[in-house]
Amino acid sequence: MIRFRGTSFSYRRGEAVIANLDLEIGPGLTLLLGENGCGKSTLLKLAAGIESPDAGTVEIGGHDLWRDEVAARRDLAYVAEQPDLTPYATIREILELVCRLRGVPTTQVQEAMARAALPASLAHRSVRELSMGQRRKAVLAAARIGTPRYALLDEPLEAMDRAARADILEWIGGLLDAGATVVVVSHDIEPFVARAARALALRGGRLASYEALPGDLGERLVMLDQLARGGSASPISTSP
């Protein structure tokens, strides 16, 4: 369970991106929708422990992200929209670090690279030398190390070739089958419609939670499309 309690965050004083948010995200696929700049990536960063909230708390699996930092992050995989890996380390070094921190043998590096369709020849390159697609694959390779129970994916299909897209969707499907909590921010909603368990829509700093999505896939797509465009449907709950 990912839990926000009275969480507020702003980049500039007086301009709240997230205001007093109370939210619980359970297992299954949650789509986080909204227009550009509405705060979707910021919410994901708060959940991933990249940004710390100005007020309130964020918990992952019952552990506070900022009081119990290691335990909260142990089963967490985060794919950022902008893959901000240090350019001074090679891809192998970064993946080895992830292995060691997640308590996984470093032999998984090659496997993770292969699963992310990253050629082994890139292992000794800096992220700075890779194309956008390759950078994202490197971050996805890191996310696939170990067995994450919480996956926070910001535009996971962006800049991916068709084979990689299919592979990522299969990986997400595997995580969901294993009972993981997966939160996806994506403007490309069609590939996720079938597995979506709930939707969160951000609009003007307010978050609406839609727990019961229509069973009919066509209707579901129409509803999610509306939410993604900044429109509204009948929410189950709304943050103040």
Binding site: A48, V70, L76, T86, P87, A89, L97, R100, G103, E129
Partner: protein, 420 residues
């Protein structure tokens, strides 16, 4: 599941292989130059240096010099070690506090060669000082320098405690060492996790200035005070030389001219290096109607204007005579070609191990010395300025902007790296 120390060891291994390795690579020319100078100056000089720094009765000033050197190395290493640790890495199972402590450890590793040099000098120094105390002091000083250099949430307080800790550590007596350890420990407890760098806000907003100057200023403004301080050093030496020796007008003018010229060269070198590091090529901007010659000219004018105060200050060193006017006119005439050379050096930094500063320091010091001796030699250099601009523009055009070379590069300001 990794236990906490395992996570910290993993992070230290990672940083040692990336940031520390790079920091050591960047400092190779400096260490090589120091080793070369040591060999040239001979064993007698090294012995007396060792005695001054670590021998019986070595003063507080020796400790200040040693700690400043350590701090310089740590500050050069810190951005390379800590860059990127506040982004994606934060979602991994290691606490922010541990990451900051690991970064401090990695910076300490980068000070290793200098610590080794100090340890050798301490061994060579004759006297009754306890070597154990000296070595413990060195380690404490390295810890303090690293603490003061790694950006943390309470950086101001940490520096306030770490700097005295480092200075005390070089006194190497029991009470000072205990006090230094206590201060460093307190600084570490106070520091908290790494400071988030975040996007750098454009604080310098003078819209009437050329766009290139505003960008350059935003990149280098924080380094200006340090650069000017380095420029004041030859001016102070020049003033001391002129004030304390019975010299003719010509020789006083020569001293002032040389000091002013060297100060200008130091400022040019420092600013060019900062620009090369903090304002890397902006590839997309090359698609705009903005010529390479314009880019070079804008950089050269900016650099030249920033170096000009050094020459004006040099005029205060010696009494106002015609000899001084002639000598400083030569240095003034030399400034435009030197500024263009500096602008050109920025555009060839990735190919040079010594960075932009190395090229300017070498060519600039030579030109300044010759001009001090024969002022009219600056005239042909001044006349060659348009040709130098053309050469620099060619360099600008031939830069391989998409090529990634980690050396002489800080991710901050790099438009193609999101670790800034």
């Amino acid at each position: 599941m990794p236990s906490r120390p395992t996570g910290e060891i993993a992070a230290l291994r990672f940083l040692a292989g990336s940031g520390t390795r790079l920091a050591l690579r960047v400092m190779v020319p400096l260490f090589a130059a120091a080793a070369g100078a040591g060999m040239l100056l001979g064993s007698d000089f090294l012995r007396s240096l060792a005695r001054v720094l670590f021998g019986e009765g070595s003063g507080f000033a020796s400790g200040v010099v040693c700690f400043l050197l350590l701090l310089g190395v740590a500050r050069a290493a810190a951005p390379r070690v800590s860059r990127g640790l506040d982004g994606w890495v934060r979602h991994l199972p290691i606490s922010g506090l541990s990451l900051r402590r690991v970064a401090v450890g990695a910076v300490m590793l980068a000070t290793g060669p200098l610590l080794l040099a100090f340890a050798i000098l301490a061994l060579v120094a004759e006297g009754n000082r306890s070597l154990t105390m000296l070595f413990v002091g060195l380690l404490l000083a390295a810890w303090a320098a690293a603490l003061a250099s790694v950006p943390s949430v309470r950086g101001g307080w940490v520096r306030l405690l770490a700097v005295p800790a480092g200075l005390l550590a070089f006194r190497a007596d029991l009470i000072s060492l205990i006090a230094a350890a206590a201060l460093a420990f307190l600084a570490d407890r106070l520091a908290g996790p790494l400071e988030r760098s975040g996007p750098r806000a454009p604080t310098f907003r003078f819209r009437r200035l050329p766009f290139a100057w505003r960008i350059a200023w935003r990149a280098i403004a924080r380094r200006l005070p340090g650069t000017y301080l380095s420029g004041l050093l030859p001016l102070a030496c020049g003033w001391a030389f002129v004030a304390h020796n019975p010299l003719s007008d010509r020789h006083q003018a020569l001293g002032a001219s040389l000091a002013g010229g060297l100060a200008a060269v130091l400022v040019l070198a420092g600013l060019a290096e900062s620009l090369a590091l903090l304002r890397p090529v902006w590839p997309w901007a090359r698609s705009l109607p903005w010529s390479a010659r314009d880019r070079v000219r804008e950089d050269a004018i900016l650099l030249g204007l920033h170096s000009l105060p050094m020459l004006l200050l040099a005029a205060l060193i010696a009494p106002p005579t015609w000899a001084l006017v002639a000598a400083l006119s030569g240095q003034l005439a030399l400034l435009p070609p030197l500024a263009v050379l500096a602008a050109a050096a920025i555009r060839r930094t990735p190919e040079r191990r010594t960075g932009a500063a190395g090229e300017i320091l070498f060519a600039g010091s030579l030109a300044v010395a010759l001009t001090a001796l024969v002022p009219w030699l600056a005239l042909p250099a001044l006349l060659a300025t348009p040709w130098l601009i053309r050469r620099a523009a060619l360099r600008d055009q031939r830069q391989s902007v998409s090529r990634w070379l980690e050396i002489h590069h800080l991710a901050v300001g790099d438009p193609q790296s999101w670790s800034a």
